[in-house]
């Protein structure tokens, strides 16, 4: 349609993106490449990866005349897909407008007006697979019906564990304990999760089932496989798919040529976050690429091995680090390797420490893409180059107190300090700054430890409240422990099953459920004794009494079928947070979602019956407890964080490092050791592993029977690699200020009768050979 120079001009002048070779040679090379040039883009943090992808796509359309429907771009999450799509639509439209306003391009105007960017195929691989399989299915074949993740959890619980009582089977528990490396936390939902992970890996690693059966004989393993087999058979019998089987079906149909109508028009394939791909997905991408290449197009993959965080979800980073070899072998092409090494996000100091961090462990370097250059600080020079800061205290309460004070000052008068003869003040923008400019990253944002002790997130929240500052930490407490859930579920249980009459008849109730039920019920009783508003026209106590005795109010007869959801909504009348607060509403959604969506295997459809047949009535209560309240009580259900988009931005974000991937904040606080008072072996996996841990155990268990074969690197090396990547992601999130926090013992060590001790910790600059490259963290400025 237009020349590359014209396109470049418009992008530079109107979209304000400096993509000329003299300004940004790497981006220029990536975007201007001919449409037949496949590329391998290794994109460091803050390098403008999304910009590059969007501008490549628009260049294909505007310069190379590729039809939008011939372009396919995948992302890792739905949110990323929305961002990509939004950017394409917005910039695509802006470029179109510039051309439409220019009489020089009058002959293009009809084509320009007909351009529909919505035809570009964007999404996660799962959503694209589902769409393509639906649109291009055989005549008469039903469209794929894909179950959500938590329906899959419920199914595995029911079919894989409860049927046949496997959740009490010692062999199975022993086997899963071996995989996990510990018995700690191995409750029933965790068993279901582990089984689902095994199931996923069987698909993702393209494991040879028969070989697996021949090679493994642990009775627990055979039981695990049996559970997986029953689960997958149930899906097949009911023509259902989960995400793994959906992708497998997509690959199968691609190989068999059943999607030719789709592949004949496919020309450009772009894959984001390629470092988190697995073998099944690689095969899909290579199949798509084969067709794209035949149609005169190309495959571009984008990612960063240093930011690969999803081994625990079946990702295989080697597919990225060895990409060039693999694609040459399979497709006989040599992709152009481009390092997007310019970092536009962070200050020079932050870029330097990121480079230092990922280079300090010599045994990590072979795990990285060969020849990878350090990232370069390219942010515009109008910023203060703050030093990296450290805040370490003797104990957790003091740490939380001082950190809160720091945060409070940053958000108000500013926090001042001196360093190397210069005075610095860290202050949020007085006009537009907000608490949302700050984030606290940690490997786990849970407020309580497994033994119930408060952790930094909880203490921070409490201390910040003294300054009227709120935090946003949706994963801070497990759903079942959140007070909103506890109160609501307690009231529900007291209404439907007073005095535990039905609950006590349920055999083999998981102990965690029993415990939580007791806590919930107590909370409920305490609450209605407080006589909360509204008291008129009906008080909570009267409402509960009526339910407990099934005595109708305002009607002549008790309804024979009452949906549990209806009871739940009525109870919300007396719990104001649940109707008015965004975060609380998300807990309500999780509870009601569980009620409505476990209907896939409910006989009573989530309703409480009231007929003359008391046995039937009790059966409906029993089913509600077992299918709805047990999963809620045992941590099987998670909140949908996507529903938190309207949360006020006046809160400080506390999140896991995984959650922070892809995000950036002006000021980032990274917890490098608030949990580590001493060199406890039980904590080693979080800072200086001795073994591989569950993800590596799973890999080793199953990959021997897969085309991937045994991994090159030892389990311990892989665990170290993953920790380095995790903290590299954390350290590369801030724009302006990076603050490391923890206990003094992490910085200075501690004393024992046997002498001084240090705490080896990847996050504070230890390499796996036991060398501390940042001794006493003297390389940062302590406040």
């Amino acid at each position: 349609m237009i020349l590359w120079e014209t396109y470049q001009d418009i992008v530079t002048k109107h979209l304000n993106r400096r993509i000329r070779a003299e300004d940004n040679p790497d981006q220029n090379q990536a975007i201007s490449a001919p449409l037949t040039q496949s590329q391998f883009l290794v994109a460091g943090p803050g390098s403008g990866k999304t910009t590059v992808m969007v501008l490549k796509i628009l260049k294909f359309i505007y310069v190379d005349d590729v039809h939008p429907s011939s372009i396919l771009a995948t992302t890792f999450t739905r949110k990323a897909a929305n961002e990509l799509r939004s950017r394409i639509l917005s910039w695509g439209d802006e470029i179109r407008q510039v051309l439409l306003d220019d009489p020089e391009f009058e002959d293009l105007h009809p084509d320009l007006r007909g351009l529909d960017f919505n035809q570009i195929i964007t999404g996660t691989l799962d959503s694209i697979s589902e769409d393509v399989l639906r649109t291009h299915r055989d005549p008469g074949a039903p469209p794929p019906v894909v179950i959500e993740e938590f329906v899959a959890s419920g199914l595995m619980l029911r079919i894989g564990l409860f049927d046949g009582d496997k959740h009490h089977n010692d062999d199975l528990r022993e086997y899963l304990k071996g995989l996990r490396g510990t018995i700690w936390g191995l409750n029933t939902p965790e068993m279901a999760r582990n089984l689902l992970e095994i199931k996923d890996r069987l698909y993702y690693d393209q494991v040879y089932w028969n070989q697996l059966l021949e090679n493994k004989d642990h009775p627990g393993f055979l039981l695990a496989l049996e559970s997986v087999a029953y689960y997958t058979q149930y899906l097949r019998d009911n023509l259902l798919y989960d995400f793994a089987s959906l992708e497998a079906e997509f690959l199968d149909q691609l190989i068999k040529g059943k999607l030719d109508k789709f592949t004949t028009t496919l020309k450009m394939v772009l894959v984001d976050e390629y470092q988190d791909t697995n073998l099944l997905q690689e095969r899909i991408y290579f199949q798509l690429a084969k067709h794209a290449l035949n149609n005169g197009g190309s495959l571009t993959v984008v990612g960063d091995d240093d930011q690969s965080l999803y081994r625990f979800r079946g990702a295989t980073v080697d597919l990225f680090t060895n990409y060039q070899t693999r694609i040459t072998e399979k497709l006989n092409i040599t992709p152009q390797l481009i390092y997007l090494k310019q970092n536009y996000r962070s200050t020079r100091t932050i870029v330097e420490i990121c480079n230092q961090f990922c280079q300090l462990d010599p045994r990590f370097q072979p795990a990285r893409v060969k020849g990878k250059p350090p990232i370069e600080a390219e942010r515009k020079k109008d910023y203060i180059n703050f030093p990296v800061l450290g805040l370490f205290r003797d104990d957790l309460p003091t740490l939380a107190r001082d950190l809160s004070e720091f945060i409070h000052k940053v958000l108000n008068q500013g926090y001042s300090f001196s360093h190397e003869g210069k005075k610095y003040t860290i202050r949020a923008d007085p006009q537009e700054g907000s608490p949302a400019d700050l984030s606290v990253l940690m490997s786990s944002p849970l407020e309580l430890s497994s033994s119930g002790k408060p952790r930094l997130p909880l203490l921070l929240r409490k201390n910040l409240q003294k300054y009227d500052l709120n935090v946003f930490n949706p994963r801070g407490s497990d759903l079942e422990r959140a007070w909103q859930t506890a109160l609501l579920c307690g009231l529900i249980m007291e209404c439907i099953d007073p005095q535990c009459q039905v609950q006590d008849t349920i055999e083999k109730l998981p102990s965690q459920a029993k415990h939580n039920f007791a806590v919930w019920r107590n909370k409920a009783r305490e609450y209605w004794e407080e006589d909360p508003e509204p008291v008129k026209p009906l008080s909570l106590k009267r409402f509960v009494d009526a339910w407990q005795t099934r005595t109708p109010i305002g009607r002549s007869k008790w309804k024979s079928n009452v949906p549990l959801i209806e009871l739940t909504y009525q109870l919300v009348t007396w719990i104001p947070h649940l109707k008015d607060d965004v975060e609380s509403l998300v807990y309500l959604e999780a509870v009601t979602r569980t009620m409505s969506q476990t209907g896939i295997f409910n006989n009573f459809g989530g309703e409480i019956l009231h007929y003359d047949d008391e046995e039937l009535n009790q059966a409906s209560v029993r089913e509600a407890i077992w299918n709805i309240l047990v999963p809620l009580a045992t941590g099987a259900i998670e909140v949908d964080e996507g529903l938190l988009e309207t949360l006020p931005d006046d809160r400080i974000n506390i999140m896991s490092i995984h959650q922070a991937k892809g995000l950036e904040f002006p000021l980032v606080i990274v917890d490098v050791g608030s949990d580590f008072s001493k060199n406890y072996p039980a904590q080693e996996f979080k800072r200086f592993p001795r073994e591989g841990g569950k993800p590596c155990n799973m890999e080793d268990e199953l990959r021997t029977c897969s085309p991937l074969e045994e991994p090159d690197r030892s389990p311990r090396d892989r665990a170290f690699d993953d920790l380095i990547r995790q903290y590299f992601v954390a350290f590369s999130r801030p724009q302006d200020v990076l603050l490391l926090v923890g206990l003094e013992s992490v910085k200075d060590g501690y004393h024992t009768k046997q002498g001084p001790r240090r705490i080896a910790n990847v996050a504070t600059g230890w390499s796996r050979d036991g060398k501390w490259h940042w001794p006493l963290l003297e390389n940062i400025k302590h406040i």
């Binding site: 008469g140 210069k422 969506q597 724009q735």
Partner: protein
């Protein structure tokens, strides 16, 4: 003095103060997307209910309307595919052998998304069972309300509609400028709007048999007749509504008009589309009215509110009917006429509809911004009390202003 000043200047240089503040966190750029039916029409029914049910995705306890709307769409689409792919060209289709399998397939798909049929609306059993479940007895399957309507819809309109369909379940998507856009305040400078329609093409219409009812109704429509004189090829878009025909001038009547006009605009954005002449809405519930529906119809007829009045025997049976007795059989032709609504696509009404939806999106975005500013949900979204809506609303017990007041019942 000069030395002292210079000294102070040196000190100042030594401890230079950098007054710049931290950057401000930029929000991700996302163009919010709105479904015509799922978002915009729901918001118009009641903003507060929309906030809880659509944005917070709180499932309804008795999702009669939601379930049935999805069910009838799914059944009609699947029935069309089987008509096309299995060549089931002869009507009427037998319920047990042809229609029931379609229903079960749609039910299964909906259950996997968490949409379970309300009791007494649909029999979920595939065959005889000892368990009556929520049905009258254990001699399954039962043709309950949803199945009665599904059968009527397929056998009434299937023979006339299916041969005219050129493309089924066409997904429509477009973007528009964000109304009342404010830099740094609005979430985005655009919004996306989506919908799904079936498309009938002029080619199919010309090839249709002379006794095709849809063709007959179209040719009775003066606007349609005027338009086809000027065009060689054109399209008609079709959608289904699991409800009764609304009263002209009512909010639903107007909203459905806007919906069809907007669908036509979205369709015009697709490169392979032809000019859309009219939109057809099928009000499925008109094909089989139960007692409550007939009471409503009688009221509309008495008050001359409806645009499709009965005459002759239909009028007499309706006027003479008492609600305690069994419902009268209205003529098929009257039911057919009530169940089809033809909406001409005109530039003026199209632009008016787009402006109307722009305004709705503007309102929704303002509500969202209010919430993000910390106003709380109930202060950000105003309820729209209307008796029929509030009676069926799950959130009436904690709404600040439900129609009909708050008379709690247990359960």
């Amino acid at each position: 003095m000069a030395l002292a000043t210079f000294g102070k200047y040196k000190t100042y240089l030594k401890k230079k103060v950098y007054p710049m503040s931290l950057s401000v966190r930029s929000k991700p750029y996302i163009i919010p997307e709105y479904s015509l039916t799922g978002d915009l029409l729901s918001y118009l029914t009641c903003p507060l209910q929309y906030r809880y049910q659509n944005k917070a995705t709180l499932p309804p306890s008795m999702p009669v309307q939601l379930w049935f709307g999805n069910f009838i769409h799914g059944v009609m689409e699947e029935a069309y595919l089987r008509w096309d792919e299995h060549h089931w060209k002869d009507f009427p289709w037998d319920w047990e052998t042809h229609i029931r399998p379609v229903e079960l397939e749609i039910n299964k798909r909906m259950r996997s998304r968490g949409l379970n049929p309300p009791p007494n609306l649909f029999c979920t059993f595939e065959g005889e069972s000892d368990n009556p479940g929520l049905c009258p007895d254990h001699h399954h399957p039962h043709k309950l309300v949803a199945s009665i309507r599904a059968e009527k819809a397929i056998n009434t309109w299937g023979p006339h509609l299916f041969p005219l369909i050129d493309d089924a379940e066409v997904r429509l998507k477009g973007i528009r400028d964000m109304p009342r856009y404010q830099k740094d305040v609005s979430r985005s400078n655009y919004y996306g709007v989506t919908g799904i329609v079936d498309v009938l093409s002029s080619v199919q219409l010309e090839e249709a048999t002379p006794d095709n009812l849809i063709i007959k109704y179209l040719h009775r429509n003066p606007e349609f007749k005027k338009k086809i004189r000027k065009l060689d090829s054109y399209e008609i878009i079709v959608d289904y509504k699991g409800m009764n025909r609304p009263v002209p001038g009512s909010p639903s009547w107007l909203h459905h008009q806007w919906q069809v006009q907007t669908y036509a605009w979205l369709r015009s954005l697709q490169p392979d589309s032809k000019p859309v002449l009219v939109g057809i809405l099928f009000y499925i519930n008109e094909l089989h009215r139960f007692k409550k529906d007939l009471e409503e119809l009688k009221g509309e007829v008495i008050n001359h509110q409806t645009d499709i009045m009965p005459d002759g025997d239909d009028l007499e049976s309706l006027m003479n009917w008492k609600s305690r007795t069994s419902p009268p059989d209205l003529s098929q032709s009257y039911q057919n006429l009530r169940s089809i609504r033809i909406i001409p696509i005109e530039d003026d009404s199209l632009h008016e509809s787009l402006r109307a939806f722009d305004s709705v999106v503007g309102d929704i975005e303002e509500n969202i911004n209010c919430e993000v500013d910390g106003c709380g949900i109930q202060n950000s979204w105003n309820p729209q009390p209307e008796r029929r809506t509030c009676d069926a609303c799950d959130f009436r017990t904690f709404c600040s202003n439900p129609a009909g007041g708050t008379k709690p019942t247990v359960p």
